[in-house]
Symmetry: C2
Subunit: 232 residues, 2 copies
DNA sequence: TCGATGGGGAGAGCGGTGCTCTCGCTTTGA
DNA sequence: TCAAAGCGAGAGCACCGCTCTCCCCATCGA
């Protein structure tokens, strides 16, 4: 209850627009998101919406931030329920949280991790923060496991100087202890995780190829934990 | 030079429409593909295009088939240049072929492996054939390696009965020799491969995170080859 | 208390979209 | 030769993003 009545009304309307946009996103997908349809549901003429949102792209940005935040919250909540000293369990919880959210909100997942919406470029200054929560959580799980000796050095593979330099920078920026090889494998685990989720959400497996996709994904998580050298 | 002049003209026009559609796809993305814009480039009024293509969705399907075929051809060409007895080299060639094609044709990659276009569902009877060429090639590489003893049994992880049943069916359908565990890991390698490519194409890594993405991808391929138990 | 300011909704309008329909012209094939 | 079929043009419908003007009225300073 802060600000003038007019300010509060404005915030309320903006929240309504975001909520209705979220509904339309879930129903029709990001590329079909229509400011005019949002205005109709809001009970207002289309030009009125432009008092609150500069353009369709800005509404998309609002939704991107909302979705990243929701996914990040879902992952954090899942991790809060796990044993802090069991990195494998935490990795599994993170993976299933991402998958569960993606299957519950496929259009939102598509907005964040699918094809870019034509003509729309998410502004980095507003989306990188909430957009990096999952990968940050993932890398922290691996790093904490490494600090407490729960990572066995994986089989050595050649790593180029460029990748080593990137790894060094990432290690410093995020204050990590992971050696280059584990960090590089962590990036693989990250993209593999979203690759598996994306295949399922986007229907790449086909309709009846796997009877229990969750079990398949769970298997993948086990293998990915091995890949990065995690032990119970 | 078969058929009546009218038939040949029709085929030519249809080919022109597909070509122009492909250009627009590369420039603006699938969701922005416009039949009217294609008609303009074709030098014809929009309704005339409907003599050749029933709807925008059918044009999308034409493009999906074209793109799958192109990707499949690219993979086949890359594999033709490798030693048939070196499964690791073949896996790497397949991976780089997919990545190279995806980076060269990001919008086409997005059409095939990104978010579904709103309101559009690819008809399975026309797209599953060309759409399964890559995964078929991948699984054949692994199976041939297994037949010639170039796969070491990976560390055992629990596999659910449902996944084992699916593995058995896939093994029979594709006439494979792979045990359940290797087949399941092959599926992981498949989705991980496209996950890594998708992250790069869709900009999930951020702009300056990795100076040499190809080197990172190459590292991933090495690890993925290990994951499935491939040895030199 | 009065009046200027400015927020905000309504409406018209522009150029774009997918798609349908009708109207003619032309090619085809019996 | 002549009906049938193919095909392009054009008008039209309902939708889209976005801009502009008009006008009401809540807000705020004098």
């Amino acid at each position: 209850m802060t600000g003038t009545p007019r300010q509060r009304a404005r915030e309320q309307t903006l929240a309504d627009i975001t909520r209705i946009g979220r509904d339309h996103l879930a129903r029709d997908g990001a590329a079909a998101l229509s400011l005019r349809a949002v205005a109709r549901d809001l009970g207002v003429v289309s030009s009125a919406v432009y008092r609150y949102v500069a353009s369709r792209d800005e509404l998309l940005t609002l939704l991107v931030v909302t979705c990243y935040t929701e996914l990040g919250d879902a992952v954090d909540a899942a991790l809060a329920d796990t044993d802090p000293d069991d990195p494998v369990a935490r990795l599994r919880a993170l993976g299933h949280a991402v998958r569960d959210w993606a299957l519950a909100e496929p259009a939102s997942y598509a907005l964040l991790f699918g094809s870019p919406v034509p003509g729309y470029r998410a502004p980095a200054e507003r989306t990188t923060g909430p957009g990096t929560r999952v990968v940050t959580a993932l890398v922290r799980i691996i790093d904490e496991a490494h600090r407490s000796g729960k990572i066995v050095a994986p089989q050595q593979v050649p790593i180029s100087d460029a990748v080593r330099a990137d790894a060094r920078r990432i290690r410093e920026e995020l204050d990590l202890t992971l050696p280059d090889g584990v960090l590089a494998r962590g990036v693989l685990v990250w993209s593999a995780l979203f690759g598996a989720v994306g295949f399922e959400v986007f229907g790449q497996y086909g309709v009846d190829t796997f009877a229990d996709p969750r079990a398949l994904f769970d298997h993948h998580l086990t293998v990915l934990a091995q890949t990065v050298g995690l032990v119970g």
